[in-house]
Assembly symmetry: C2
Homo-oligomer: 340 residues x 2
């Protein structure tokens, strides 16, 4: 049995969407127990309107929510009983094994650092994300790769980058069923002496690391290609490149729409290409990936996308449960213990 | 009359390609004089096989060339008379107003720093590049934006970022006929307090800069969209994101080819879409942009792409001549003199 604390208030689509995902999941054949944190009346009302299995659901009342436009610091200080704080406190005191939130990213990271313990040897947490790639990854042939950190930190020391490599490798093993994921540092050249001091030093430390299948440095070219399974960088760089990949997807979609509007022959061509476009859309659909893990704490935390629909919420909770049952924290601990 | 020194040995396609571009250009109606640096016999032979205007061409002998696989430092030390060194020395002593090379990027930057003077107030040179965007830019509606630095430096101070902004703005004004190009800092959020210390400090300095149309910070999303005309970042970040954009173009092309091979209906669809694909290819074809300027020196230096064909070489020389005749250096000087 895995217990997942769910921030029912977070997410752009509102409480109804989260409860919809939770209610559906409770009816599936699994051993996931959920603690729903938020306005108890609203949650109870939303559950009342949906088929659900009450034996798998528990409600924990909270007061208020961090809005997307809020400063995380101010919001958590001014609203100590907001949903993400109450949810994280419940996780910390052992009422759950994992937490899922589609709410404010900064507030989720800050609340985690306020309430949870970092794993031994981990100086900084990292947020990881998946991005679509041309190459396939792991035995399931996933059309995406993992990149971290994408925004929990700004800069990173060599030691931080090494711990990100260990955490990313552990997560890829568990989530993609990939026993030996390849890991690389993102740099401005493939040679070991390319990059910032932190990257060069991390490269040296990773070359002989017994737990890491280290592929050296990769360059910007390798991100859309998907040359490796896990790409490691500091949070500033990760944030910029991840948003850039999102932007590219948007632009390709815009160009296709534009063509669609303009010309009959193009329209015909596009219809014929629809199978291919559908494939591309699936490839770049974050909804099916289940969210971004916040790695480095002693509990599993999954940040679902703000625009998550009920299916994405359901997937995020499943991913969280999988990470718990496959002992993500233990896997990271073992990697760290093999670092000099 | 503008005099352009051309490194005839540089470029993946060899001397014949460079001479082809030069010979063609000499027959066009312009006032560009060219100094061709390289193996004098080979240049004379290649010219002999092509129509050209000998009044516009001069040959300067050099010995050896920096191979793409060489270390720039070692190569320039061991081969002091290689083409890029001889060409840069000729530029420095006033035998030319500008230099174009399709050779080794690192060697071009290093030779420039060895031979040329930096403009007053410029602590570091920057390599700028254009990348395709969804939005159009300037009165000519160029489908590309400028980004710098993309690899002349690794890290950059706030002062460096401000000088990159001035240089990029000056170059966009001259090359895109854009009297008031918008300039932004690439960061991990639009807010003024987002980013590294250097970015936050540069933001403060640029907000009230009288010569810069400062648009604040942009994020990764804004690069493919092309929200602004000039994007400023340090050379490490610029290198990663530029290569990533190249990678995306490659992947889209690969996906299209793959579809082409697989299915007849797709094939038909693609044929019908060919006009759109041709447009996309043009949008992402660096050959027509004429190369990347190395900014910050008292002479114009244009690094043409290694894979430049003869048309790309011709365009790079024209761009160099345009930058000279519109006084790029003077424009940058004026911007710097208005910086506190």
């Amino acid at each position: 049995m895995v217990r997942v604390v769910v921030d029912a208030m977070g997410g752009d689509l509102g409480l109804e969407t989260v409860i919809d995902g939770v209610a559906h999941l409770s009816l599936e054949d699994n051993d996931i127990q959920m603690v729903l944190v938020g306005d108890a009346d609203a949650i109870t009302h939303a559950l009342g309107e949906r088929q659900h299995d009450p034996r798998k659901l528990q409600v924990l009342h909270s007061d208020g929510v961090v809005a997307m436009s809020d400063s995380a610091k101010d919001a958590l200080r001014d609203h100590p009983n907001c949903s993400i704080s109450v949810a994280m406190a419940a996780l910390a005191r052992g009422d759950g094994d994992a937490l899922v939130s589609a709410g404010h990213t900064g507030a989720t990271i800050l609340a985690a650092s306020q309430h949870l313990e970092r794993l031994p040897g981990i100086r900084r947490a990292a947020l990881a994300a998946v991005h679509p790639t041309e190459h396939r990854h792991g035995p399931r042939e996933d059309p995406f790769a993992l990149i971290l950190d994408v925004g929990a930190t700004l800069s990173a020391t060599a030691e931080d980058l090494v711990s990100f490599a260990i955490m990313g490798s552990a997560y890829a093993q568990i989530i993609s069923d990939n026993p030996n994921p390849s890991v690389a540092l993102l740099s401005n050249g493939a040679e070991p002496n390319k990059g910032t001091e932190a990257i060069i030093e991390a490269h040296e430390a990773l070359i002989n690391h017994p737990q890491i299948n280290f592929a050296g440095n990769v360059e910007g070219l390798d991100l859309p290609r998907g040359t490796v399974d896990v790409v490691v960088c500091d949070g500033f760089l990760g944030n910029v490149v991840l948003k850039m990949l999102e932007g590219v997807t948007e632009v390709v979609t815009d160009l296709a729409k534009d063509a669609y509007a303009r010309k009959f022959l193009w329209r015909l061509g596009l219809t014929m290409l629809s199978q291919g476009l559908r494939q591309l859309r699936t490839m770049t659909d974050w909804k099916q990936y289940g969210g971004a893990p916040l790695l480095g704490f002693d509990k599993v935390v999954i940040k679902a996308h703000g625009r998550s629909n009920s299916r994405a919420i359901r997937n995020a909770i499943k991913v969280a449960a999988k990470a718990v049952s496959r002992d993500l924290a233990g896997q990271i601990r073992r990697g760290i213990s093999h670092t000099d």
